[in-house]
Symmetry: C2
């Protein structure tokens, strides 16, 4: 990269270390930054710093927030008796986009994965237990439908049992708009197993 | 995005305005930044500012550089009598990676495109003329093999004619490692037209 000089090389390297950005994209982004109005480059740099330095976990649900309590937990119109457990704030955002859920969330920040050295203590499970002990009607487990997500769902399910709280898991099945031909066998088998009368 | 708070929303928006980064990638990058060590976030922000504020055009070839003269133009071992004309510093980088070219470059920063309102005066053509007038052996035109690049090549070719400098265009043909079946007809026709004896 020395034909461009150090500043560009460093910027390409920094962009290239971000997830999903390969060498070519990093180069493209770096050239875009150089050609940007200087105010835009400053705004990008300060957006990075502001977000990194000011964002923290919601003291209720562990979602990311600028404040002590996130927008969802602070919304009095929501059903505080129902908690949906998700792995990640992005999963929460995905459910928010459906406009079909009006309860609260609990963000674990990961899933149990012995392979990656992630155990229950690395997740926000203690915080969930505290909320459930304070009294809720239902805990909906919406971890990902993969090995780690299922293991996490099982683990939380077992913890909930003695507390007597209703605990549910989101349904598995063929996705709407999908093509049965292209759906994997495990999903097809689950969709058959959990068929409903119409 | 209000469920995450303003800082993240702003960062997602900034990332999303970069080329080739859609909504999902922007979100992913923003969450990555939030989870980064704070030094890394600072280094990314300052790499952006440093590059934007310190990078300028090489006073010889118009490549991007931190100094008055870029690394290629400043390298005495290179053949200063040959100039390869490219549209973009990335094209120059692509040729540098071949290790097959030891001359200098001239970066136009674009191609003639009346559709996009880019005329010859918007490119670094005056700077090229000055260099050619100062005496060179050969000008190799390596603009892109598309409408704009060909138009630019033709235009520069015409300018070079009265100066008596040897002017060449990089070859068109089937790409090495490609599959003839998938090569477009225009390229196939050019490859036939410019066939060489073996």
């Amino acid at each position: 990269m020395r034909y461009y000089g150090d500043y560009i090389a460093r910027l390409i390297e920094r962009f290239g270390s971000l997830p999903g950005i390969g060498g070519k994209s990093a180069q493209r982004l770096a050239f875009h930054v150089i050609a940007m109005p200087v105010e835009n480059a400053r705004a990008l740099a300060s957006a990075i710093l502001d977000a990194r330095e000011n964002v923290r976990y919601c003291s209720v649900c562990c979602n990311l927030t600028d404040d002590d309590i996130c927008g969802v937990c602070g919304d009095a119109r929501r059903d505080a008796e129902t908690i949906m457990v998700v792995e990640d704030p992005r999963d929460m955002a995905a459910y928010e986009r459906t406009n079909e859920y009006s309860g609260l969330y609990h963000v674990l920040h990961g899933a149990i994965s012995p392979m990656n050295g992630v155990g229950p203590d690395d997740l926000k499970i203690k915080e969930l237990l505290k909320r459930v002990n304070d009294g809720v009607n239902e805990v909906i487990i919406a971890t990902n439908p993969n090995v780690e997500g299922e293991a996490t769902a099982m683990y939380i399910g077992k913890l909930m049992k003695p507390l007597g709280v209703k605990t549910t898991r989101i349904a598995h099945g063929v996705p709407i708009g999908g093509d049965i031909e292209y759906v994997d066998e495990v999903t097809l088998a689950k969709a058959l197993l959990w068929r409903r009368e119409i």
